[in-house]
């Protein structure tokens, strides 16, 4: 039987760091962002016909400022993304799936970890990656439906603290899920 561990949370909380912890423990890593990019490439013509561009940056600008257009894009991408995900989970392995919009995609997991961080920290992380404060605010607004579920782990402080918390969770998981 496959074991699906989902890592969710808002932008800038540190989902990838958490997912990579489990990848380093032998889990097969799947990024829904990466699958999203692949599907975007596949659906480029359809996207171009609707949005007048298939440039990812331009599309991001459009949808992160317009919720209705975001839903249109999601309706194009999400069904195919779920299909690709199901095709990837074929072996009896432990998988870690990084999916900010897990709930919107309707992914069913054996265990979910939600990563949180203080807003101030999220802004610090994302502005240092080149996003403006307004862009971060717009993205966070569109992620209002990402609400904590499963195990909640906060990543507002140091990497060492995060590692300690993850060790506790992993040890518990090993005991209760026979990983």
């Amino acid at each position: 039987m496959s074991f699906l561990l989902c890592i969710t949370g808002k932008i800038g909380t540190g989902k990838t760091t958490v997912a990579y912890y489990f990848k380093n423990k032998g889990f097969e890593y799947i990024s829904m962002d990466d699958i999203g990019h692949e599907v975007f490439e596949k659906k480029k013509y359809e996207i171009y016909n609707i949005f007048g561009t298939a440039n990812r940056k331009e599309i991001a600008n459009i949808v992160f400022n317009n919720e209705e257009k975001l839903r249109i894009l999601e309706n194009i991408l999400h069904p195919e993304m779920k299909k690709v995900l199901n095709e990837r989970i074929t072996k009896n392995l432990n998988y870690v799936i990084e999916a900010a919009i897990k709930r919107r995609l309707g992914i069913i997991c054996d265990l979910t970890i939600t990563v949180t961080a203080a807003k101030e920290i999220i802004f610090q992380r994302l502005t240092s990656r080149g996003l403006s404060k307004t862009e971060v605010e717009n993205i966070l607004k569109l992620q209002n439906d990402i609400i904590p579920e499963g195990i909640i782990i906060d990543n507002s402080s140091s990497l060492e603290n995060l590692q300690t918390k993850l060790n506790i969770i992993y040890n518990q998981m090993k005991k209760s899920n026979n990983l």
């Binding site: 203080a118 807003k119 909640i152 507002s156 918390k165 518990q172």
Partner: protein, 75 residues
């Protein structure tokens, strides 16, 4: 929920507890022996049917949050 809050108080000796929707944020002085405490906690709440999410923060971590991000202080 009251029962769970009581168990949290007894096991973790929190300094503060906040509630926001279904998320309970527990502020701790220290996170030592957390594995043992969490193990006891999961056993004690296994029979309670409550849809709650829990987050544990140290005081240092809590200070990075705006208070309105944590919700209403219930302890």
């Amino acid at each position: 929920m009251e029962k769970i809050i009581e168990i949290i108080k007894e096991l973790f000796k929190p300094v503060e507890i906040y509630k926001s929707d279904n998320l309970i944020t527990v502020i701790l002085n220290t996170e030592t022996d957390m594995e043992e405490k969490l193990s006891k906690f999961s056993k004690q709440i296994s029979s309670i049917d409550e849809d709650l999410s829990l987050r544990f923060l140290t005081i240092e971590e809590k200070n990075k949050f705006d208070l309105n991000e944590l919700g209403v202080k219930i302890f």
